[in-house]
C-alpha cells in the first residue's frame, strides 16, 4: 500500500506540473486564474497523500484544510478584482 501511495503521489505531481503550462502561457487572465485554482486543489490533495506517506497525517491534514480555505478565497477575490462589468457591457 505504501508503494501504491507513492506512485499515486508522483503521478499527481506530474499532472500538476503539466497544468502549470496553462498558468504560464494561458491566453487570457481568466485562464491563468482557473489553472491556478486547479493547481491549488491538486496541491492540498498532494499534501494529504504526503502526510500518509510520512505517517504524520495528524499534522498534514491541518495544513491541507488551510490550503483549501486559502485557495477558495484567492479565486473568489481575483474574480471580483478582474470583473470589469461596470465599464463595458458584454
Amino acid at each position: 500500500m505504501s508503494s501504491f501511495l507513492l506512485a499515486i503521489t508522483i503521478f499527481i505531481a506530474m499532472l500538476t506540473a503539466a497544468s502549470m503550462y496553462r498558468v504560464a502561457v494561458g491566453r487570457t487572465i481568466f485562464d491563468r486564474i482557473i489553472a491556478a485554482g486547479l493547481v491549488g486543489t491538486n496541491g492540498f490533495i498532494l499534501l494529504t497523500l504526503v502526510g500518509f506517506i510520512f505517517g504524520r497525517i495528524n499534522m498534514f491534514v491541518d495544513l491541507a484544510i488551510a490550503y483549501a480555505l486559502l485557495n477558495f478565497v484567492v479565486v473568489i477575490v481575483l474574480g471580483k478584482y478582474f470583473d470589469r462589468g461596470r465599464e463595458k457591457q458584454p
Binding site: A18, I34, T48
Partner: protein, 110 residues
Amino acid sequence: MPVLTIVAMVLMLGGAFFLTVSSIGLLRLPDFYARTHAVGKSETLGSILMLSGLAVYNGWELSTFKILFILVFVLIANPTATHAISRAALRSGLPPWTRKKKQNGEDNKK
C-alpha cells in the same frame, strides 16, 4: 490484504483517472468556457473520490473527520469558484468560442 484497503485503492484509482481527465481538458480544450467545464466538474469529482479513498484507508480517527470536512468544503467551494470566474469573464466581455465560418456565410461542418 484487507477488504477496506482494496476499496480505498479502487476509489483512489478512480480519483486519479478523473484528475487526469481534468488536466487533459485544461490543456487541450479550445476556449476559456470549455476549460471551466473541465475544471469545475472533473476536478471536483476527482478530489472527492481521492479524499474519500484516503478517509476509508485511515479508519475511525479524528483525522478522518477532518478529511471529510475538506471533502464537503471542496464539494461546495470548487463549483462556486468556477462559476464566479466564468461570470466575471462573461461580464468583462470575453466572447464564447464558435466554429469558424466561411466568407459566404455557411458553416463548415467537419
